[in-house]
Symmetry: C2
Subunit: 341 residues, 2 copies
DNA sequence: ACGTTGACTGAAAGCGCTTTCATCAGAAGG
DNA sequence: CCTTCTGATGAAAGCGCTTTCAGTCAACGT
């Protein structure tokens, strides 16, 4: 009744006393209501409700060994791709009563190790990671912890993974351009260090070129920070070449959109003077002009499936070692047949 | 040595035994190393290192009452704005040893209540929320919990907040267009229900118009989902009006970019046939063509400051009740003087 | 009528750590 | 040489919950 500076938090024993039952019963009312008689259950629930009882997660986690929390470590949250995947994960997890604990490593293996340690320490029930490449120390940490782990985008053959065929994505982009008659194709990729997705996409594109009797020399590949500005800068470098490419592949859509801007700024017409293809399939890509031809990646699905897989693993249900999601070429207006020499 | 299916996790007592000290000493070695003799500290650290000891977060949280975890509840992670703010928060928090627990509510007050309950239950040490409008139940939950809370984008005069002047943002956008001679201005906003940021931006724009002897009738305001497609659709509706506006304000940059696309698709030139102004200042907005005139919002700073404020509150350090960050009009090519009748 | 079964419920032992509180050298002071 | 500190460490009591392990009691079968 009176005002309290800070009312002591209602705890399980308070509810038990109020409802005239034991602590065990209250605990069961929350975790396994089926075990209680309807009468008791109702009484406990009424008390809990009235007192505004909120179970203490730390205590539950300590006693039960489960935190109902899943961790996710991504390169950065500030990316349309990871943001979408995490949103999808979060939504799926929330339905199962899980919460998402996130960390980012900004392309630093050491920071990733740190993050893994931090999340492991927090007692997450499962962990989502991006890519298969990481510090050996991190892998060791993960293995000895025995924690459910799901890798995304790329798998490593050991941990469970929800992946796409990044090489195939690169290949599709390149093949599309080759089939349009392009012979001199450039590619802008993210920094290859600690980014197996970009490496695979590059390799895939390169292989497609080679299979067609063409090549993707290092002089036509530029590494850039994964931003729109990076894409523009990369495009500028490639277009400044003496023997400039007639088509460009962006290792991510953002790069390709940057190319569109740069070409526009130079008064070059896309696709007339330059064809551009991206990889990712951002929403934005359908709306830029000209519409961006891109290899669509089911980003949201990756997040959903990663979450589902993790939930299944926590529950000791069997899961696929590796789920490979399909990528698909979406042709829009930014690419067209090469005319001229 | 031998293979174990699942080695029991190393616990504090194991380290204590190994180092020949008490559990209390090991605990102190982690939390308050200054209290130990250099010799003991080194010994404990060596043991911990060798055994690969990782403190159990749940146990620490239970015993100490602090989880070293901060919660954040946003409308969605799948938005350049919130993704950036969260990335900034996460980065700042990580430096202080905190982890970010995220949840999203997809514009549902009930879902937000749920999320608050879930995060409160997880024992977060502080909570970041977006906007000032929410279910009374949520506010009550927050108040009685006594948890450090920081509101972002909008404040409510009660909870600590890191805000921007959304009305001013709307006003700046409108005033800019008015000063260019536009008299008939339309606006696309997000669904006003449970979105005080959009409401404030609309109100600000409307007031600016009225102060100039003009008006922003409901017929020139359209509510859309906060996506690029929503922007296009909204633009289409406004341009289909008999007496179409000569300028459009996007409640978020994404809307404005959608307008650019829609105008382009209709063969209308921006800014010649239509001026467009956004609010947010996305990176993308500087790169679309024509470059988007927008009211820049320091999104990353909001995240940083929210994190810093929360950390300070947890440490019982004094903080500003409300930190108001400046918004600024950035004029680019999408807006120009109105010519003609 | 009496052992059985099954459905509920309670007692109590922790989960792994933090944190008083107490202890005990040795240093400093008288 | 004894008291008074100070600094370093240990003992032990929880933190709030889950989860065996028992126990109670009514219904059931024979």
């Amino acid at each position: 009744m009176g005002m309290m500076v800070s009312a002591a938090r209602v705890k399980l024993s308070d509810v038990a006393r109020d409802a005239g039952v034991s602590a065990a019963t209250v605990s069961r009312a929350i975790a396994q209501p089926g075990l209680l008689s309807p009468d008791t259950l109702a009484r406990v629930r009424a008390s809990a409700q009235r007192l505004g009882y909120l179970p203490d997660g730390a205590a539950r986690a300590l006693a039960s060994g489960r935190s109902m929390t899943i961790g996710a470590i991504v390169p950065t949250l500030d990316s349309a791709i990871f943001a979408r995947a995490l949103q999808a994960m979060q939504a799926t997890l929330a339905q199962a009563g899980y919460l998402l604990l996130v960390a980012s490593h900004e392309a630093s293996p050491a920071a990733e190790t740190q993050a893994v340690r931090a999340l492991l320490g927090r007692g997450v029930d499962g962990l989502m990671l991006v890519g298969a490449e990481r510090a050996p120390e991190t892998t060791a940490l993960l293995r000895t912890s025995g924690l459910p782990v799901v890798l995304t985008w790329c798998g490593d053959g050991h941990f469970t993974a929800v992946t796409i065929d990044n090489a195939m994505a690169g290949r599709l982009a390149a093949q599309h351009l080759i089939s349009l008659g392009h012979r001199r194709i450039g590619m802008i990729v993210g920094h290859l260090q600690f980014n197996d997705r970009q490496r695979a996409r590059l390799t895939g594109a390169r292989m497609a070129l080679e299979e067609a009797g063409l090549s993707l020399p290092d002089s036509l590949v530029v590494e850039q920070a994964l931003t729109l500005a990076g894409g523009r800068a990369g495009c500028a470098m490639l277009l400044d070449l003496d023997d400039r490419p007639t088509a460009l592949i962006g290792g991510i859509d953002l790069f390709a959109i940057g190319c569109l801007e740069e070409a526009h700024a130079r008064g070059m017409a896309v696709p007339d003077d330059l064809s551009v293809v991206g990889i990712d399939g951002l929403d934005m890509s359908a709306h830029v002009s000209p519409g961006l031809t891109t290899v669509h990646v089911p980003t949201g699905r990756i997040g959903n499936l990663a979450a589902q897989t993790l939930i299944a693993m926590v529950a000791h249900r069997p899961v696929e070692r590796e789920t490979l999601l399909p990528v698909e070429l979406v042709v829009r207006r930014s690419s067209q047949a090469h005319t001229g020499p």
